[in-house]
């Protein structure tokens, strides 16, 4: 199943890439500041990259390589794609993981509280979450940098350091991008939670729980919130998956070398092997996340189990 899916994605991405105009060879030979390559040079590079082969041959090579775990080498720097992904994926996972953690820890209680309290708190929440989902992450990220790096000098403005080299700095460099990512995500989660909680607030079993004399908190947490989690889990699942491939803007603002900027750079440079490799990676992750979410549905609601 999963394998079939990945295979489908593989084929589609291959086709998509070759449908999109843009010549990797030409790009390799000309950056933004000019310097124009001769057609001969371009042709030579094309040959070198194997782009002169018939499409079917290229597809076959790509597919047979991918199935044996060989994703090829980057057009731009010759690095093995699997190696590049191996380097970048952990960084992205770390970033997305932290962002998700923050978003969930903030978003769920926030939305729940807004639903429960109502009144002005709810209105303020509406406004704040609107800003949260509307604020482009590059704007928010820039503001963070302006404040914490340039004004207060508390955190480095951006970059990346391996954990092994300097754990402290590694952590410092992770904070701001994670927060920048988490803001929109938390707002999304808060909104979803709020609406789901409102649905559950008036169920009969809540009354039952209250009749037992359980504390308000327990009633709310176990009899309202717990039952509201289904759409929240969906949202988180999709959010995590989407983040994996779309942290590019944050990565740009903070010069964080993650998977997503690798992907976007590769797309802009039409670095086919890298694009394909990253897409496959994200597809595999996505499928896994969806499987986890599907399992969670059953955990959250026993009626779903068959």
């Amino acid at each position: 199943m999963g394998v079939g899916l990945v295979l489908l994605v593989l084929t589609l991405i291959f086709l998509a890439l070759h449908l999109v105009p843009g010549d990797p060879a030409m790009l390799l030979l000309s950056q933004g500041d000019g310097g124009s390559a001769t057609p001969d040079a371009v042709a030579r590079v094309r040959e070198q990259l194997g782009l002169d082969q018939p499409l079917l041959t290229q597809y076959w090579q790509f597919l047979s390589g991918a199935l044996t775990g060989d994703l090829g080498e980057s057009f731009r720097n010759g690095q093995a794609v699997s190696e590049a992904i191996g380097e970048r994926l952990p960084r992205t996972l770390e970033l997305v993981g932290l962002a998700t953690l923050i978003a969930v820890v903030v978003g769920v209680p926030w939305g729940a509280l807004a639903a429960r309290k109502g009144g002005w708190f709810d209105s303020v929440t509406s406004v704040l979450t609107s800003i949260g989902v509307a604020l482009p992450v590059f704007v928010f990220g820039s503001l963070l940098v302006l404040l914490f790096s340039l004004e207060l000098g508390l955190l480095p403005a951006g970059g990346f350091t391996e954990w092994g080299d300097d754990p402290g700095r590694h952590a410092q460099l992770l904070i701001m991008p994670a927060i920048a990512l988490a803001v929109g995500f938390a707002s999304t989660i808060a909104r979803m939670t709020r609406s789901a909680v409102l649905e559950m607030l008036h169920q009969d079993w809540v009354r039952t729980a209250r009749s037992l004399g359980l504390s308000r908190r327990t009633v709310f947490r176990k009899y309202v919130l717990r039952n509201s989690l289904n759409p929240v889990v969906t949202t988180v699942g999709i959010g995590v998956g989407t983040l994996l491939g779309s942290t590019v803007l944050v990565e740009k603002v903070f010069s964080y070398p993650g998977l997503s900027s690798l992907l976007v750079d590769a797309v802009t440079a039409r670095d086919y092997p890298v694009v394909q490799g990253v897409v496959i990676t994200i597809a595999v992750l996505f499928v896994s996340i969806n499987i986890i979410v599907d399992v969670l549905y059953g955990v959250l609601d026993p009626r779903v189990r068959r």
Binding site: D204, W205, R207, T208, R210, S211, L212, G213, P302
Partner: protein, 542 residues
Amino acid sequence: MLEIDDVSVEFGGGKKWKPVTHGISFSVAPGETVALVGESGSGKSVTAMAILDLLPANARRTGSIRLDGEELVGASEKRLRQVRGCDVAVIFQEPMTALNPVYTIGHHLSEAIRSHRDVSKAEAAEKAVDLLRQVHMPSPEEKVKHYPHQLSGGQRQRAMIAMAMASEPRLLIADEPTTALDVTVQAEILDLVRELQQRTGMGVLIITHDMGVVADVSDRVVVMRDGRVVETAPSRELFARPQHDYTTALLEAVPRLGSGTTSSAVADRSAPPVLDLEGVAIEYPGSWRKSGFRAGHDLDISVAPGEIVGLVGESGSGKSTIGRLAMGLLPVAAGRMEVGGRDVSAGSRADLVHIRSQVSMVFQDPASSLDPRRTIGQSITDPLRWTRKLTSTKACRARAQELLDDVRLPKEWVDRYPHELSGGQRQRVGIARAMATNPRLLVADEPTSALDVSVQAAVLDLFSELQREHGFSCLFITHDLSVVEQLATSVVVLQHGRVVEQGPTARVLNDPQEDYTRRLIAAAPVPDPDLQAQRRAQRLAG
């Protein structure tokens, strides 16, 4: 101990408040059992809920409610919380929606046990099994691991009762606690309550429609109608010399087992049966960890045209399951099922369409079987629209009003939502919906359990009338043997998913062949306090 003084409950919100009860007053002394009876929708439940302020958000209470002299109206939420579950426990009317679908029964019980007591998880788990055993839950060690939807209606109700008992409260508010229980279990549960009462001096406020139960357990009776108390009297007196006209009417409407009234329905045995089960087995699918559960074995049941078959039996014996099978909601695991002469065991699409054109159903749990987002008027006539019997909105509305009227609900309520009704009112909506389609076979799963006897009588009359008119057949699931006697042409007695006895009503009820049937008949309470006291003594002795 509990004094209720001039309590009114109002619904609404904003500036418009509409009272549904008016100046209710009564009291409950320690060790006393007060029965709250009366018309469906008269405000029994809301009064009971008002005591602990468990009313819906759009309701408010006025008046004075004192527990041991302490005023509860206007008490702090914190204080109320201490009272709830500890001093006062509640059994809710509709156990399906009152239990959280995502927690097991065991979890619910542990929560109840641990809410006011410092008990370890393990101890609580043990206690939970113990409680379930006390309420006669079959295989309690297993059932603690079940989720509410995996239990039968009566089993859920027993879980609910066990939760309320968990804290050994000083006052027990029981809102129709035995509606889904067969009479044997009901008797055992009532014994249990009484025993607890004698041991701890617990006061009981019980809401019920079963006059037999009233006679059995109550010391005093409060009769309500239209949101007002019409009469309050000690039970014996009330049964002997009812003062208010309504009370008199109520007592007269009580069906009595062996009273001689019999069904007017005539079975047409020459024609092929409407429903025919031959050696049918029914299975609930298991999950990947657990194997499935076989809820019916080797069932041979047949319903002839025009026949009303009473399906009685132990709670959890598979009555509803058979109903759901007949409706095509569960597959036939083994054996053969025919509906209207057509073999539908395969359960193909066409089979299902066929079934649904012939069969209609009153679900056991009215609250969960009504779409919360549709008005009751819509819910009633939706089947008509779906089957293209009625298409215009106007006609639907008119038909809905007619049907509401038939089941003694105000016509103006077509636009109400299910949650704005009382339990009995919802049940009547369910009945109206099932009748709307003029089915050939009606599966009625405890259709009158939440109705007071007078409304029940009216509904049953309607039922017989329609039956005469349209000649439909009926599989009537109930635990009220007197209703069976009155209505059914034949009876099927079920235990543990097997048919233990079946035959014409008169034969089975008057001359039961099987031990279980005998016990069942013996356990049926009679609406006479003195007689009931004797029977109880007999039963407990034997």
